[in-house]
Amino acid sequence: MVRLMVEKTFTAQTFSGANLSCRRGGRLVFAGLHFAVPPGGALILRGHNGSGKTTLLRLMAGLTPSSAGHLAWDGQAIDDPDAHAARLRFVTHLDAVKPALTVAENLSFWMSLWAGKTNESALQKSLQAFDLKRFETFPARLLSAGQRHRLALSRLLVAPAPLWLLDEPGNALDDASLAALARAIADHRASGGQVVIASHGSAFVDDGMTLDVGAFTPTTAAHWSEEE
């Protein structure tokens, strides 16, 4: 397995959120949540099932609006979702892999969408990082769940973006792939990128900050909204 060379250093900017609340279906998922991820930093989201880790990640990505509070990049409140989207990569529990396309076609689509062009050497590096080189010409429908997830993870590497949001990235991965992911995260942080990981198991980093989303979950009936 080839280690990715650290090529790009991101401009050092902090990603933060202040007093974030989110309401889903009339229920307050979490409230009064603060976080800050400095350049090169890692934030680990913990919490029981349903505590709002995925909701928080989708909120950080700008997909879900917050009902109170705001996100900030370099101290500036984020008000342009497209500009924010361009600096992040989001790995969700859905792999966004097209079964009818080959592994390489799946990757090169996202590469040309994000980077504006395809770059064969960057594509090969991304494939090698998660040991997918052998399957390059396979239709993605032949991949196992773990291999499909590795393909989703290799998208992180095809075009650089400073902020990685990873939702349970260790799901369905074998030990070698977990190690490859930990290495990719370490390389990303070394080049000044930041990462937010929601995880029950391995945290992939040993010096990250931990945020227990569950601690911000209101539990009493008073938090049920009546107007919705």
Binding site: R58, A61, G62, L63, T64, P65, D82, A83, A85, A86, R87, L88, F90, T92, H93, L94, D95, A96, V97, K98, A100, L101, E105, F109, W110, S112, L113, W114, G116, K117
Partner: protein, 219 residues
């Protein structure tokens, strides 16, 4: 490559690899149209009288069958989240997907239509207007349909809801689409430019409306 061509190329490649989807739509168009001569009988005048309307209505229904394909698969497999987060202008992505839909369903319908018009005894002077009307009308069908498809994302039995939502909006296209063909047959020409007008209006509104609905669906 630009965002538009990247997304268009991917959707066309997917449609080509899963060509059964497009073929089903064309087969539906053929079978539904051919049912009319069987149901009404072989009287040429009656068939010729209803031919423009029958071809248009079956073309609309065939297109309707394929509309949920524009966004549903992307929504279910997580691609839609990634497209919204691509940083590219979402209306451009939507327009590329709609263009792919039109090329893989609208264009085959246009090509098939003269063959089916033969079974309906459409008079000879109606063929060129038929294809012209479909050529100018089907882009509107795809564009308006995309808004409906985006609005029903995530709902159960979205297909039925989609038809209730979208079919009434197709009435203007249906009226002028058939009028263009009938005008040519009866010698009172109706300009097909009004269909082009509808297409331009849909082009300026629908990609933005569909984008807003997609963002709502992804919340």
């Amino acid at each position: 490559m630009s965002v538009f061509t990247t997304v268009l190329a991917r959707d066309l490649r997917l449609a080509l690899r899963q060509s059964a989807d497009s073929l089903t739509v064309i087969a539906f168009f053929a079978i539904a149209t051919v049912l009319f001569p069987f149901g009404i009988g072989p009287e040429a005048n009656i068939l010729a009288r209803i031919a423009p309307g029958v071809v248009w209505v079956t073309a609309l229904l065939a297109a309707l069958l394929s509309l949920d394909r524009i966004f549903t698969v992307d929504f279910e497999d997580g691609t839609l989240d990634q497209l919204i987060l691509s940083g590219a202008p979402l209306p451009v992505v939507v327009l590329a997907k709609v263009t792919a839909h039109w090329l893989t369903t609208g264009v085959p319908l246009i090509i098939m239509s003269p063959v089916l018009a033969v079974t309906l005894h459409l008079p000879a002077e109606g063929y060129v207007p038929l294809m012209l009307a479909l050529l100018l009308g089907t882009p509107t069908v795809s564009l308006v349909g995309a808004v409906g498809a985006a609005l029903v994302l995530g709902t159960r039995r979205g297909g039925v809801l989609l038809s209730l939502l979208v079919l009434p909006l197709y009435i203007p296209v249906l009226i002028f689409g058939t009028a263009v063909i009938e005008g040519a047959i009866t010698g009172v020409p109706v300009t097909p430019l009004i269909l082009a007008g509808f297409a331009i209006l849909a082009l300026t509104l629908c990609p933005w409306a569909a984008s807003a609905a997609l963002r709502q669906a992804a919340e």
